[in-house]
Symmetry: C2
Subunit: 213 residues, 2 copies
DNA sequence: TGTACATCAGTGAACGCGCGTTCACTGATGTAC
DNA sequence: TGTACATCAGTGAACGCGCGTTCACTGATGTAC
């Protein structure tokens, strides 16, 4: 919740020890900033980056659109921050799954979480790759880099959790992430609950298989 | 190329045997229609449905945008037709791969084709699920139904090619398609050629694994 | 501690611009006799 | 076969509308003395 705003007052960065303390307004700005990123992370994943308007997002935080540019230089900058936050959430969930018990059963727990109806029907709180990967791949800007960086973080952490030879682990982690992303993409397009569940079941099976051998 | 325009003259449908023959203008319209769908299938996959304008697509076919509504009731209708055409192309490629030699090696050929650099770097001629799945899942209209229908066709044909018990084959086919879609999605976001190739290699390995057991 | 000044987060109107769609029009196509 | 009329594919201007961004302004916050 508070990892998304750095350098709100870059001007005072070196003198920070001299200034008495961040007063109400600075805290208020930081809080606004966090709420904007939070709302954007949800809205962008729900409606797409093109589909969600700056004014909508600002309204969702209880502000008007005019103030947006006190926080970000462009909508794309916000998208990059929002995507970063989406990956933070996802990695926190992975961390939580791994915290229970190490090894493969912990990864199985993460697989079940990722390939759940919950995830399929709540894109706003879900994986940014599924929601925004195709769109950002076309854009070539900050949001694209944010997705690439997030994918790197996710594969890195998954490979670490898989353990063993890290070259092999990264191969497995990449395959695993591919099934996860693909299965949720397909499940979100499924025309019926039945079709959705069939896809998710197939994904779970292959995802587990990806960890073996 | 000519499967996308039906009922151009629905009014005469029953009398068609009486009318001498489609004259120049009717053929011209059918040809325009096909060119519009063809251009749309490419533009939509390259830029997204929101990202590609009706005027752009019409210009790409050598027409002006005003005439568009003689062919389609809305942009979404065109998107549905374009997505259908995209799946036709993909299924034709699958058919071609299967035509060489039956069984698993034919599917391996298709896997290599799907998970090729060629496919990753040419979204305009690639799989509609990767390019448009996330966007259409949000839309809830004709284009969404077209993606769902295409996924159904693809999984059906893959299951048939896998053979054996069709319940199990459909499960395998769904898993296979999930890795394919996910791996290309990830590869398109990769920040370097190296990362892209690593993802594709991991995808190929897991895709082959999905056919075993 | 108190006062005068500067800063700046947030407001709300306005700006261009591009988009999907509509519409009056044109001229070739198709039809009726 | 030829003529008069109807149809309609395609044109290009115009319509609303929503969007990202800008800007003058306000009033609370923060600073200097």
């Amino acid at each position: 919740m508070d990892d998304a705003y750095h350098h709100c007052q870059p001007r005072n960065q070196d003198d920070e020890r001299e200034t008495p303390m961040p007063r109400a307004s600075r805290e208020a700005k930081a809080a606004s900033h966090a709420r904007i990123v939070e709302a954007a992370a949800r809205e962008f994943r729900e409606k797409g980056i093109e589909g969600a308007g700056v004014a909508d997002i600002m309204a969702a935080t209880g502000l008007t659109h005019g103030g947006f540019y006190r926080h970000f230089n462009s909508k794309d900058d916000l998208a990059a921050a929002a995507i970063g936050r989406g990956f933070d959430e996802g990695l926190a969930r992975l961390e939580a799954a791994l915290a229970g018990d190490g090894g493969e059963s912990a990864l199985a727990k993460y697989i079940d979480l990722y390939l759940s109806c919950q995830h399929v029907s709540n894109p706003g709180a879900g994986c940014p790759i599924v929601a925004l990967g195709a769109e950002t791949a076309r854009s070539g800007s900050g949001s694209r880099a944010a997705i690439a960086e997030g994918i790197g973080r996710l594969i890195g952490r998954l490979a670490e959790a898989i353990g063993g030879d890290q070259n092999d682990a990264r191969l497995k982690a990449s395959g695993l992430l591919a099934v996860l992303v693909g299965a949720v993409t397909l499940a979100r397009s499924a025309p019926s609950e039945e079709a959705r569940n069939a896809i998710l079941a197939a994904g779970r099976q292959l995802a587990r298989q990806s960890l073996q051998r």
